[in-house]
């Protein structure tokens, strides 16, 4: 597909829609940010006195935001398609010479869907957390952090320039850091939090360099004017920008090679994993790429790399997901894999952008569903996360089971569940662009079928392998109701977005879309994909129908590798961490011995000279006289020398 870039450029450059001034209901766009921010401020600064009602305030702010978001959606749909992009400039933020970054919000169709995802799923997870975190002493803080996250995430998707996006970008990073390490007294949690932040920082290097390059190239960092000029820039420049943005995306979205932090991030409370590490934050990378579509359109190379990264991660995640016994880690693996799909879609160019977002939305729903289900299970199993200790839970927790099944069917893509529509579109688009990617997509779908089925069987079917004093029970309504809603969501989102919401048409003004005659009939492709998935399911059933050993069996080389997350930690350690610390130790020594040593050394040298020199002062008057004579001669000699020269 390399080389087709130029061609794509011609017919697929997204129609740039002018930003309409924020009026009417949009005039209060900033409130969307202010609400959760206010919640966070009150909860975090308020201290203990807010302990009692704090959590409810936390939910309230987000729910209100969600309501407002829906209001926005409604009034946006009322507008004609090319006037749906709203801009609201609050004030000039960083202005130095030609570098001008406004604190300005932009709400267009793309941001809109994200706002909805964030606020609605966010609300559900907040409510769910009321139950899940009921007995935690620091409940208030938890909701404070969640609100902080929502605010930052909204800023990320509402920013109208890259610098402001960067603020949201690191803001969600901070929130994620705080929430992964929420149980800080657990060293593993603290370590995981740090790991997540630092690895994200590597991505941030990409983002900040990208911003600088964008500024130097276009003289601005505001989306609209950057995209307006994207055409003028040379392909090399655009490629560089694209690759830097991809680096950023890899960090945030746990894509290869920066994927290692996501599995550790499961140290955080399950609602966090659901909201941040499944539904919203980790998909920010996809948002970044799609948002910068205008830039990627100009660089086939970058797009190819994006697609390749997606493919690699898709398989990595799937393989890891297939071997993990910890239910959350298995789900995390699947998240990586699913985001891999989205990145692939984004890597396909305009044809894929829409499907990337589409899959992002459905995935946001059903993965949240799955995680909350897992959370409900863990809750019922007194914190046990090892699936080998589960089994036969379908009787014990019916609601959880049923909703979980919705999520399951959605993710493996059984029609009419939502995953079917979105994933299928991606695979389809892939075949349009490059059949290899398409095949990969199909295979990964098969693996998805495998590991999800494995999870279902190990958790809900077969014999009970519970530890003795565990008495699984269904969770409270406060937790199950969100589950039910999300379950229904998993069922309908896809269909709704396609048939009723016309997601494609909705996003087209932002992403642009290139209609091409389909080479292969859709129905055939869907058939193939389904069969592959079912094969995966079958294998899983075959493998796990019989009893599941409580102790993991030795397993083959691949399994062992997968259990160790394909040794990503070991590799990072060997390639980056250890060398860095070695360098650090080396420099510390250099600093003490060489640099400071030189300083101290010169001082002691003078001291030594001094101690020698004072011995000349023998105390004998005659030696003094001798020196005087010598001095006299010296003086005379110097005088003569000067006189002769």
């Amino acid at each position: 597909m390399i080389g087709t870039g130029a061609a794509m450029l011609s017919d697929s450059a997204p129609v740039l829609q002018p930003l309409a001034p924020a009026s009417g209901v949009f005039a209060y766009l900033w409130v969307l940010l202010a609400l959760p921010l206010f919640g966070a401020a009150v909860l975090l600064l308020g201290g203990r006195r807010t302990n009692r009602w704090g959590p409810y305030l936390g939910c309230l702010t987000v729910i209100t935001a969600a309501a407002y978001a829906i209001a926005l959606l409604v009034s946006m749909m009322a507008l004609p398609a090319d006037e749906r992009a709203i801009g609201q400039s609050l004030y000039s933020w960083v202005a130095v010479g030609s570098f001008q970054a406004e604190f300005a919000l932009q709400l267009d169709q793309l941001s809109m869907v994200f706002v909805l995802l964030i606020t609605i799923v966010g609300s559900l997870i907040h409510v769910y957390s009321l139950g899940y975190m009921e007995h935690d002493v620091d409940r208030r803080k938890f909701f404070g952090y969640l609100n902080l996250f929502i605010a930052a995430m909204l800023l990320l998707v509402l920013a109208d320039n890259y610098l402001l996006l960067y603020v949201g970008w690191e803001g969600v990073g901070l929130a994620s850091y705080l929430l992964i390490g929420f149980w800080q007294f657990k060293p593993s949690a603290a370590a995981a939090a740090k790991k997540a932040f630092v690895m994200n920082r590597i991505g941030d290097v990409g983002l900040s360099l990208a911003i600088m390059l964008i500024f130097v190239t276009f003289g601005t960092v505001a989306f609209d004017s950057v995209f307006a000029q994207a055409g003028q820039a040379s392909e090399t420049t655009l490629t560089w920008i694209g690759l830097l943005l991809l680096l950023a995306a890899c960090g945030k979205s746990a894509q290869f090679p920066l994927q290692a932090w996501l599995l550790d991030a499961m140290e955080g409370p399950t609602p966090v994993s659901a909201l941040i590490h499944a539904a919203t934050m980790v998909t920010a990378g996809v948002y970044l790429i799609v948002r910068s579509g205008a830039i990627f359109d100009g660089t086939a190379v970058a797009l190819t790399v994006v697609a390749i990264v997606g493919v690699i991660t898709m398989f990595l995640g799937a393989i890891i997901g297939s071997a993990k016994d910890d239910i959350k880690k298995a789900l995390a693996g699947s998240t990586m894999s699913q985001i891999g799909y989205m990145i692939i879609a984004a890597g396909l160019g305009p044809i894929g952008y829409v499907f990337a977002i589409f899959h992002l939305l459905t995935h946001g729903v059903f993965k949240a569903n799955l995680f909350l289900g897992a959370g409900s299970v863990i809750h019922g199993m007194d914190g046990q996360q090892d699936m080998r200790r589960y089994g036969a839970l379908r009787t014990a927790m019916v609601v959880t089971w049923l909703t979980f099944m919705c999520g399951y069917l959605a993710i493996i893509g059984i029609p009419p569940f939502s995953g079917f529509f979105s994933k299928d579109d991606i695979i389809h688009a892939a075949f349009e662009k490059n059949w290899i990617i398409g095949v990969c997509g199909v295979l990964a779908a098969g693996i998805t079928g495998f590991y999800m089925t494995r999870m279902i069987i190990m958790t809900f079917f077969g014999k009970a392998r519970w530890e003795d004093d565990v008495h699984p029970h269904e969770s409270k309504p406060v937790m199950t109701i969100p589950l039910i809603i999300l379950g229904i969501g998993s069922l309908f989102t896809g269909a709704a977005l396609v048939y009723w919401g016309d997601i494609v048409g909705w996003l087209e003004p932002v992403t642009g879309l290139q209609e091409e005659p389909l080479a292969i009939p859709t129905i055939a492709l869907e058939g193939i994909t389904l069969t592959v998935v079912l094969i995966g399911v079958a294998i899983a059933i075959a493998k796990y129908r019989s009893t599941v050993p409580v102790e993991p069996p030795p397993g083959n080389l691949l399994t062992v590798a997968a259990r160790n997350s394909l040794y990503d930690d070991a590799i990072n350690d060997a390639l980056v961490v250890q060398p860095t610390y070695a360098l650090s130790r080396g420099f510390v020594t250099v600093d003490d011995r060489v640099i400071d040593g030189t300083v101290e050394g010169s001082a002691s040298l003078v001291g030594g000279v001094s101690r020698r020199l004072r011995l000349v002062q023998t105390g004998f008057a005659r030696s003094y006289a001798l020196l005087m004579v010598a001095g006299a001669i010296l003086v005379a000699v110097v005088l003569v020398v000067v006189r002769l020269s």
Binding site: A95, Q184, F185, A190, F218, A228, V588
Partner: protein, 511 residues
């Protein structure tokens, strides 16, 4: 402007400290209260002055005063501030009350008087050094400041204080005397060119100095400044000084005094020695970048909090110097904002570290801490904020500075910016490593039942936090003040900035 603002800003704390000495030694609380009042009064005066400042004025300096001092050598007592000076004066006058409040119990009652008196003297001198417009006067403040700091470290510091104090003083004197030589050289040159020699800043800027002479004199000044704002490899005094001095001293030393170095670079080196600045820029940039990475890496390997902060400061000073010597508006303004931000973040880290140490037998060894978050969440929270502000989290003051510096650098040497940007990863690594070891995990036995912050302790931190956030989200006022000054400086240097395409009229303007 007939009100002698700046002189007042110097006289007030000076008189205050003299009165402090007159107060009874037996009543330390009175002494502290008095010192705080003086500092607050000074701060109020500064605010009043700042409000009078016209950002768009055409005159290079405002609030100027000038009286002949040693006419025989064209030396005069001339003060005045431009945007850069104003920002730094403000920083100084803000931090002094903060550290007085934070260092309320730093020293035992016997020493209280001398300690706070010295702090006030230092404040006066800091105002002076940033507002002098006569180079000789600047030098005088530059050197005299050493004395109170020397006593603050050597008398009130930790176990190795004497050694650290002497090291600090000698290091600084090395720079100071080289600078003196260069200063005199400059005077001789001015005498040759103008007939009557002068030390007046603007007159010296007007000189047309032979490039080779510039290169020589430049070094004299530069080494002095490079030692003050420790650039690699002139930095080894800083870790010792930081480790041994009390938090208040450390904050004023690293947060404000060391800024004299970078301030001197942008105020004196660039305009007076444009050719030499251009000539040495690659060298300085190299040192700066080395400093950024080296400092961060060494910080990563530290076992002592305060030493860690010292090295991280060194890394940040690298950024500041970098921004100054790329000769771009973004770089210069960024550096100035960064000076301000770094002052605040230094205050945050050292205040929190000081509180921790007070609660743990004065140990600054990282290994003596752990799980603070569980016993003192508020303290830990501030500590985390300090870490975030030193790793330049977007939305905080340091981010504005750091990013502008990087942009300014990228405009001229994209690859230098690329290398420097690696620093932000290492910074995150050491900052969070520190927080992880100190605040998280199981609580260290010695810290069980550790009391959390009192209101008196929270207040100064709150001030710092608010300012950090305010500048992070609303840097506008600061930038408006700073930009013209930087522009003026760059005009003198005359190195054309690489041209950036003008932003296309963004499609979003409302019809």
């Amino acid at each position: 402007m007939n009100i002698p603002w700046l002189t007042a800003l110097m006289v007030l704390p000076l008189v205050g400290s003299i009165i402090t000495l007159a107060l009874p030694r037996s009543r330390p609380q009175v002494v502290k209260a008095w010192a705080l009042i003086v500092a607050l009064a000074t701060l109020g005066l500064t605010i009043a002055m700042a409000l009078e400042f016209q950002a768009d004025a055409t005159a290079p300096f405002q609030f100027t005063e000038s009286y002949p001092w040693i006419p025989a050598f064209g030396i005069s007592y001339s003060v005045g501030v431009d945007g850069i000076g104003l920002v730094l004066v403000a920083l100084a006058t803000v931090l002094v009350p903060v550290v007085i409040l934070a260092g309320w119990n730093d020293v035992d009652d016997q020493a209280t008087k001398g300690y706070f008196a010295l702090l006030l003297v230092l404040e006066a001198l800091m105002v002076g050094v940033f507002s002098a417009t006569d180079v000789f006067l600047f030098y005088v403040f530059f050197e005299v400041m050493l004395v109170p700091v020397y006593f603050l470290i050597g008398r009130y510091g930790g176990a190795g204080r004497t050694r650290a104090a002497v090291k600090f003083l000698l290091y600084s004197l090395v720079g100071g005397l080289l600078m003196l030589a260069a200063l005199i050289g400059l005077y001789v040159v001015s005498a040759q060119q103008l007939g009557q020699g002068t030390f007046d800043f603007l007159a010296l800027v007007g000189l047309d100095i032979d490039p080779n002479m510039q290169k020589v004199l430049f070094l004299g000044f530069f080494i002095a400044f490079a030692i003050k704002a420790p650039l690699w490899p002139f930095h080894t005094w800083l870790p010792d000084a930081a480790k041994e001095s009390t938090p208040a001293t450390a904050i004023l030393l690293i947060g404000v005094l060391d800024k004299v170095g970078t301030f001197g670079m942008i105020r004196y080196l660039l305009p007076i020695f444009p050719a030499a600045s251009d000539f040495y820029a690659p060298l300085v940039i190299a040192l700066a970048v080395i400093g950024i990475l080296y400092g961060a890496l060494v910080a990563l390997g530290q076992t002592d909090m305060k030493r860690l902060f010292a090295y991280s400061s060194m890394s940040h000073f690298g950024f500041i110097a970098l921004g100054i010597f790329v000769f771009t508006l973004q770089g210069g303004s960024g550096s100035t904002v960064y000076m301000l931000a770094h002052g605040l973040s230094t205050a945050a880290v050292f205040i929190t570290a000081g509180y921790l140490m007070q609660r743990n037998g004065g140990s600054s060894l990282i290994s003596d801490y752990g799980g603070v978050n569980k016993v003192a969440p508020v303290l830990a929270g501030f500590f985390l904020f300090a870490a975030m502000s030193s790793l330049a989290l977007p939305g905080l003051a340091s981010f504005v500075g750091e990013f502008l510096v990087l942009v300014g650098t990228f405009i001229r040497y994209w690859w230098v910016a690329a290398i420097a940007t690696i620093g932000i990863v290492i910074t995150a690594a050491y900052a969070l490593r520190l927080y992880q070891k100190v605040a998280t995990g199981p609580t260290a036995p010695s810290l069980e039942g550790l009391p959390d912050l009192t209101a008196r302790e929270k207040l100064p931190l709150a001030v710092v936090v608010v300012l950090t956030l305010a500048i992070g989200f609303f840097p506008g006022p600061v930038l408006e003040v700073v930009n013209p000054a930087v522009e003026r400086t760059l005009e003198v240097v005359g190195v054309p900035a690489p041209d950036i395409p003008q932003a296309a009229p963004s499609g979003g303007e409302a019809p």
